[in-house]
């Protein structure tokens, strides 16, 4: 079935004239029709607009193609990235019937590469959460077990790829929001180095941590998409003017001479024994593949969650000030301007967003700034230095992506602190500004149905080539990426 193909498989078929972009998109639309009332990965999709894009791609293909790397490939988008003339809600009530007036930089790049850009994927409201339960528009379900969460905040992006409703998707990652749902849904998720991909047109959550990245069915597709998404953009002053390598060329399978670090601080209490066993098996596999395993230390790991929830909420409280009912939002009238702001925000934001705005406002407020925010920024330096020191001896660091496989819907939603602590392995990567990738490394045996387990690789700043090379070699030898949730093909 066409919707189950990888990007590289589809583009080969399209180039040979064995199928069309329209047929491929139609297969995705049919799959959405068949499974999305159960999965609810999509908030909406504009089938007519997508079919028009597919037809345009077929015309180009008929003309002999154009060398565009994603010509005719259907890619779905998290509801936090602007797509011109399509809705943008960040899974929040506050934006009402907002329609994007322009394309994000990554959308321009996807279009230039020939992709069929479609759909608005569910997420935690304003990307704040780890389960997609904070969406104002209902839960997304894990395709492997519909009673469980898909992870978050990019839960819709992961579930849509796992359920074969699209070939690949885009998400955003502030503290693990790509890697964690990728792990829980059994796909590949890549958070690029801070500055690698332009954030222009991404609704800001925490500006010093946010990065856009791909969800794909295998590592090769992640390499292809990263090559398209990367590059300097004058409209994002934090994007970096480094050349974009041919990431797919790095997938040689040759790991000789590469050193992989195991961080002793990541073997924490609360790490599920099955997750631990799967990661240990991956370590053995890497040794067989010729990589050298070295123990490293990241001594400030225990402070990462606390540091993150100060830095991220402080930045969020400032970024979300723009949702005040003046230029957009469902305005709620008030006696004066301040009351209008307060009522609009009180009516429009959900509980988790309010919690984080309050926390962020508090840690920045007079008398507390130095004790909380400034101290957290200093600890952030220590966390970053831990990684830079480790990368003097190793090429990448290997960890579990999450302490457990997917949890049940409702299991942690009453206790925000427990939810925050489930991000323990993914958060440091954003604070340090390095790159990270999650890929499948096995399944649980204790649960029925079985659930995917994710392996995380953390790489040097702008070390995505090494990360992808390591991930690809393991993936090809282990073969976990070929497993599909029963729902996808039933």
């Amino acid at each position: 079935m066409l919707n189950q193909l990888t990007i590289s498989e589809l583009t080969t078929k399209l180039a040979r004239g064995e199928t069309s972009a329209r047929q491929t998109l139609q297969a995705c639309l049919d799959q959405i029709q068949r499974v999305d009332d159960r999965v609810h990965a999509f908030l909406s999709h504009d089938a007519a607009d997508a079919l028009a894009q597919a037809d345009a791609a077929d015309q180009e293909l008929a003309g002999g193609g154009s060398g565009k790397p994603l010509l005719g490939v259907p890619i779905a988008i998290k509801d936090v990235i602007a797509v011109k003339n399509q809705p943008l809600n960040c899974a929040s009530k506050i934006l009402g019937d907002f329609i994007s007036p322009y394309d994000a930089a990554v959308i321009e790049k996807l279009r230039a590469a020939g992709a069929v850009v479609f759909g608005r994927l569910n997420m935690d409201e304003f990307a704040m959460g780890s389960s997609t339960e904070n969406s104002a528009f209902g839960l997304t379900r894990n395709p492997w077990d519909l009673t469980r969460i898909p992870g978050g905040s990019s839960g819709g992006s992961a579930a849509a790829v796992a359920a074969d409703e699209c070939l690949a998707s885009l998400g955003s990652d502030t503290g693990g929001s790509i890697r964690q749902p990728a792990a829980l849904c059994g796909c590949v998720g890549l958070k690029p180095t801070y500055g690698r991909v332009s954030r222009y047109g991404l609704v800001a959550f925490a500006s010093s941590l946010d990065q856009i990245g791909p969800f794909t069915k295998d590592v090769r597709d992640a390499a292809i998409l990263l090559g398209v998404l990367s590059g300097h953009d004058l409209r994002d002053s934090t994007s970096v003017a480094l050349p974009v390598p041919d990431y797919a060329a790095a997938l040689t399978g040759d790991l000789k001479g590469l050193k992989l670090g195991l961080a002793r601080e990541y073997l924490v209490d609360g790490l599920d024994p099955e997750v631990k066993a799967a990661v240990n098996a991956a370590v053995k596999q890497y040794e067989k593949l010729g990589a050298e395993i070295v123990e490293v230390s990241l001594p400030h790991t225990e402070y990462a969650v606390a540091t993150y929830y100060i830095v991220a909420t402080a930045e969020a409280s400032a970024n979300l000030a723009r949702f005040d009912g003046v230029r957009y939002c469902e305005r709620v009238a008030g006696g004066d301007l301040i009351e209008m702001y307060s009522r609009t925000r009180g009516a429009g934001f959900g509980p988790e967003v309010k919690r984080r705005i309050i926390l962020g406002t508090y840690v920045l407020s007079g008398g507390y700034h130095d004790a909380y925010y400034l101290r957290a920024q200093k600890v952030r330096t220590l966390i970053r230095n831990d990684f830079l020191k480790a990368f003097e001896t190793v090429d990448a660091i290997l960890t579990p992506t999450t302490p457990t496989a997917a949890f049940k819907a409702g299991e942690k939603s009453g206790d925000p602190l427990q939810m925050y602590l489930s991000d323990i392995f993914t958060i440091s990567c954003n604070l340090a500004g390095i790159c990270g990738l999650s890929l499948p490394c096995g399944f649980t045996g204790n649960t029925q149905p079985r659930l995917p387990i994710g392996l995380q690789l953390l790489g040097k700043p702008f070390g995505e080539e090494t990360l992808l090379k390591l991930a690809h070699a393991y993936e090809q030898s282990a073969g976990w990426h070929k497993e599909k949730p029963p729902l996808a093909s039933a």
Partner: protein
């Protein structure tokens, strides 16, 4: 830096966020427990450590001073809750 000093009503005013009394109660107790956890940072020795605002700091980012495309007034006003004469309308702010 004591969680006990946390005044939810005052902070909500700073954040321009109207909260119901029930929301204030729930948030205050949740945030007290989160702030309790964050106290952990006090243990870290940050003597002489410079703060990190951005992991990859770039400075003096400028662009060539040339006219380029920008949003039209119409596009910029497209999502406005209230507008008139090509402008955003807000409640009266000066008596």
């Amino acid at each position: 830096m004591s969680a006990a000093e946390f005044d939810i009503h005052y902070v909500a005013q700073l954040a321009r966020l109207s909260l119901s009394p029930e929301e204030e109660g729930t948030l205050a107790s949740q945030l007290t427990s989160i702030l309790g956890y964050i106290e952990k940072l006090k243990e870290a020795d940050v003597t002489g450590v410079e703060p990190t605002a951005h992991a990859f700091p770039l400075v003096n980012i400028t662009r060539p001073d040339v006219v380029s495309q920008s949003l039209s007034t119409e596009a910029a006003l497209r999502n406005a809750p209230q507008q008139a004469n090509g402008l955003f309308l807000v409640p009266k702010i000066v008596e």
